[in-house]
Subunit: 225 residues, 2 copies
Amino acid sequence: MSAASDDLVVLVVDDDFRVARLHAEYAARVPGVRVLEPVGTAAAARRAIAQHRPGLVLLDAYLPDESGLDLLRDIDADVFLLSAASDADTVRTALRRGALCYLIKPFAADALTDRIAAFQRFANVVPADPARTLDQEAIERGLRIVHSGDSPGGSRSRSATEQAVLDAVERADAELSAVDVAERVGVSRATAQRYLSGLAADGSIRVQLNYGSTGRPEHRYLPRG
Amino acid sequence: MSAASDDLVVLVVDDDFRVARLHAEYAARVPGVRVLEPVGTAAAARRAIAQHRPGLVLLDAYLPDESGLDLLRDIDADVFLLSAASDADTVRTALRRGALCYLIKPFAADALTDRIAAFQRFANVVPADPARTLDQEAIERGLRIVHSGDSPGGSRSRSATEQAVLDAVERADAELSAVDVAERVGVSRATAQRYLSGLAADGSIRVQLNYGSTGRPEHRYLPRG
DNA sequence: ACCCCCTGAGCACAATGCGCAAAACCGGTT
DNA sequence: AACCGGTTTTGCGCATTGTGCTCAGGGGGT
């Protein structure tokens, strides 16, 4: 794994060049990994993949010229899907189209480095080599390896209620008051407000004050945008 | 799980009609599975998939009119790849194109039935539902379930108590709290909860949070959808 | 005897709803 | 402009309920 010709060649595809650089830098920390210059569009990804034939593509779900999930179907490369999207349908689609791994942005470096290292071990057990014959146990051991690893290193996991409050705000087609959110989630106003103020404080949602009726200004909540 | 509308619809695609029937019969043994009439060509598979929208396709790698691996890329369905081919390159290609499982023919019935049951549990944890939000842990747990639900060649057997807890949830005509389950099974609340949380984690049952009274939200358990 | 697995009891603490006081607003009056 | 009253909303403390964990004990297998 020390000879350059044996390195795992990794390509990062993300239209946000700072994010792309960050992920490229994470990947470069893994021993035996060589990272190509990141690209920001599906078209550039196709060209880079055809030219360099990377062993692994770190693919963003949303690209300016094409859905990353559609590109995923076409490129016939080993892919990790990296996305801020965390709805189950997107995850299912990505997996169905061949993503070996799905990482919710933002994530800590070790979430990605652990996964890449696991992929390297997987590729050792299940190499892309027609001369190698596997039995069922080896295949399943390989799959367990690629999905093994340490606990997810991403951001702090939200509680179910906090996530439900955030979802209610993100899914609304208009700004919501605390009372609105409480009704939608099914919790008390006080609980909704508790979470809303926390989410606003950490920048996950936005607040606007609504004036014009007697009484305190009403806080209205919107997605971060 | 008795309502036909909640069944997992499975399509077998294999040109050897005896093998296809055998695999269809295996699949039909899994509770909650409805098996379509098998088809023997890629063209027929495309038609059947467009018409019936199966939840799972059991796909042979070699079809008379097209490579099963090429069809795999096109059909955008959840697929198990079943093949006599055991070279590592074919395995890698299948996984890269989205096969959730690779079974080397011939295989025993329980190799397939266990995998299908694991898929059902996976689909409970990662449903194809845009309204559901997942965290990284849930995604990875889902992947572990589908790839390594049980050890090869046989089910991990449930203890009597675990089975009794699962039965209590499945038989109830309404969602149950841990206290309810404890009473029905005749174990302590802590024991019931221990098993309930394990069953929920492995996708065998669903949890909903019940709000409205002071104190922590109450976990309510339902059968898998 | 030793080990492993399972169970229940007890406890710490997480998370919720309720009730209330205070903050903040608007409109009217002086 | 300043003040007041009425109203609405926010934010906090507290009591309560539920979850998850630890530990001791029991039973079964080797």
